[in-house]
């Protein structure tokens, strides 16, 4: 391995790109395993990890210095995604995408109800958490469909964001000014952090985010149990609402292209709740169209298929080969590989439960076997099936995984 940061970054980027292009790189690309353990490894609390940019960034640097095998850096803190505000400000492209990212200090200012943070609503060593709620009433579907942005701005945002409850009040304007100040502060910290990551040889690069329209409705407007009722009680409205949300959500995702992003991340949620019938009727059409439209615009997708996607796997084949990557949580990646080889890059494979609860020797064996099955033919990126390793994860287990990747990952 080279030590020149620029060369190293180029190598890492090439490794990941090869997998997306369904080829075999020099070594299996590895996303690394981060999360709360990054904070505990650096001796800081979950609160500090989420509220103190400098401490969080330094914790990441320390972790990456210790564990350098991966091709991507791990994240600092864990922000909550809140697309309601983003869409409400969609006509202000310099602000829209950023408004989706709710980290600790920004939540102190905006008071986003769906977000819970350590040291605030949660104990200081907890993880940040997303808690949905019904911010929209079922009889309001028509308003959402008629003018999504206006409805989100006037009705939903005011219900789900404490500081913006009274639009036009001095408090609401003051909150936005404070938001801007805080975001600039974070921007300055991020710039420095980006430079440090560059020195460690990590490729930079922006990423867009797209949300399946029905997930937006389930997570941010109706809450999942209510949406499931709606699917039966108001099927036409939910379908029309998903269609109405597609354009704005696409505009939001494509906004990242201006920042140079050529990949959109799409975390699915409702997928594992739905039968194939409901999935194909309500969920997949607008998700599929979103992926295809972004592809037309030059953006591949990385879809995180939460839970078990097994019943819906075949629908992925409706996308053109090389469309992007499927990141699987509990879906059997071996089965996925059989089905999708030569069509979809596969991400995942590492069971986080194993990393938390197993031993180095067992993990070595586990990775060896996993890579032996998943690597041949390329198009595979090794990743933990869930992005967050808890604070108590044994460091020797993490080390065992990284070492096993070095040992067994060569093509």
């Amino acid at each position: 391995m080279t030590t020149n940061p620029q060369k190293l970054a180029a190598e890492r980027a090439a490794r990941i790109k090869a997998a997306y292009d369904l080829q075999e790189p020099d070594r299996v690309p590895f996303t690394g395993m981060g999360g709360d353990v990054v904070a505990s490894f650096a001796g800081i609390t979950g609160y500090q990890f989420n509220f103190d940019y400098e401490l969080a960034n330094q914790a990441v640097i320390k972790y990456l210095q210790e564990f350098s095998t991966a091709d991507q850096p791990v994240g600092a803190g864990s922000a909550i995604v809140n697309n309601v505000t983003s869409l409400a400000f969609l006509d202000f492209p310099d602000l829209a995408a950023g408004l989706a990212i709710i980290d600790g200090p920004i939540n102190d200012i905006l008071g986003v109800e769906i977000a819970r943070f350590p040291g605030r609503e949660l104990p200081e060593n907890s993880s940040s958490q997303f808690i949905g709620n019904a911010y929209m009433k079922p009889e309001e579907y028509d308003q959402l469909i008629a003018d999504p942005l206006k409805f989100l701005y006037e009705t939903v945002m005011t219900r789900s964001t404490r500081s913006l409850a009274n639009l036009g009040s001095p408090a609401s304007l003051a909150a936005m000014a404070r938001y801007g100040m805080e975001r600039a502060k974070k921007g300055i910290a991020s710039q420095k952090f980006g430079q440090e990551l560059q020195q460690l040889g990590y490729p930079g690069g922006a990423r867009g985010m797209f949300i399946a329209p029905l997930d937006f409705i389930g997570d941010q407007l109706r809450d999942i149990p209510n949406l499931i009722k709606d699917l039966r009680r108001y099927p036409d409205k939910t379908k029309a609402a998903a269609k109405a949300m597609l354009e704005p959500l696409l505009r939001l995702a494509l906004g990242a292209k201006n920042a140079g992003a050529d990949l959109a991340f799409i975390p699915l949620h409702l997928n594992e709740y739905l039968s194939p019938k409901l999935y194909n009727e309500f969920y997949w059409p607008t998700l599929k169209e979103g992926i295809l439209r972004m592809l037309q615009e030059g953006m591949k997708s990385q879809v995180f298929f939460e839970g078990r996607h097994d019943p819906h796997m075949e629908t992925i084949l409706e996308l053109p080969a090389g469309w992007g990557a499927g990141y699987f949580e509990k879906t059997d990646v071996r089965k996925a590989k059989k089905l999708l080889q030569g069509h979809t890059c596969i991400i995942g494979g590492l069971d986080v439960g194993m990393v938390i609860a197993s031993t180095p020797a067992k993990l070595d064996e586990y990775i060896k076997e996993l890579l032996g099955e998943m690597m041949p033919g390329g198009g595979f990126i090794l990743a933990p099936n869930v992005g967050n390793l808890p604070r108590e994860t044994p460091i020797e287990n993490i080390r065992a995984v990284y070492e096993a990747v070095e040992k067994y990952g060569k093509y």
């Binding site: 999360g35 709360d36 819970r116 609503e121 949660l122 104990p123 060593n125 907890s126 993880s127 958490q129 808690i131 999942i224 149990p225 499931i228 009722k229 699917l231 039966r232 009680r233 594992e272 709740y273 739905l274 039968s275 409901l278 839970g307 019943p311 509990k330 069971d351 986080v352 439960g353 194993m354 938390i356 609860a357 197993s358 869930v386 967050n388 390793l389 808890p390 604070r391 108590e392």
Partner: protein
Amino acid sequence: MRKELLKSFVDMDEREAVRIAKELVETDGGPVAVLETCKEAMEEVGRLFEAGEYFLSELIAAGDIFNQIMAFTLPKLQQGDVSSIGTMVLGTVQGDVHNIGKDIFKVMAEASGVHVIDIGIDVPHEKFVEAIKEHQPDVVGMCCLITLGVDSMKQTVEVIKEAGLRDGIKIIIGGGRVSEAVMEHVGADAWADDAARGVRLTKELLG
């Protein structure tokens, strides 16, 4: 009418199921019949889920239909009509504030005749101990969604052990991040990452 109720319930025909139940509950012996049929329907839905024919959306919808019917049925039942196969203390462990998984499990467990004492979300270890002392459950159910919950469950089990309460109870852990390996790590007796499996195993633990 019981047959029609069962069919419409299992087919997720909410309006029809509620309509029939409302009619049936007014007949002689109706309340018990409604209760029994709904339990049967929930069991069937759970079976269909485990068979891969039904999905989470059906579990949630079934729970919703069950709750709607129970709202007008339970007040009409006499003491003794409702039999319990055992008592369970159920909560989402400390640090985790998610409730969807726990709530889906709860209604299915209740439909199976388990007397569930729901002690909420983000439940401190000691609160589990207190609830065990107070309610003398047969089974303790711990839920978590986020990975943080894994060690929180382990600590909860340890605190229960320290209080000398571990031997008298069975512990089942549930949630998106649990597995065989996690169960061993935590020191629980069973694990489930879906509600139907959870209810089936709970019934097994109740023996």
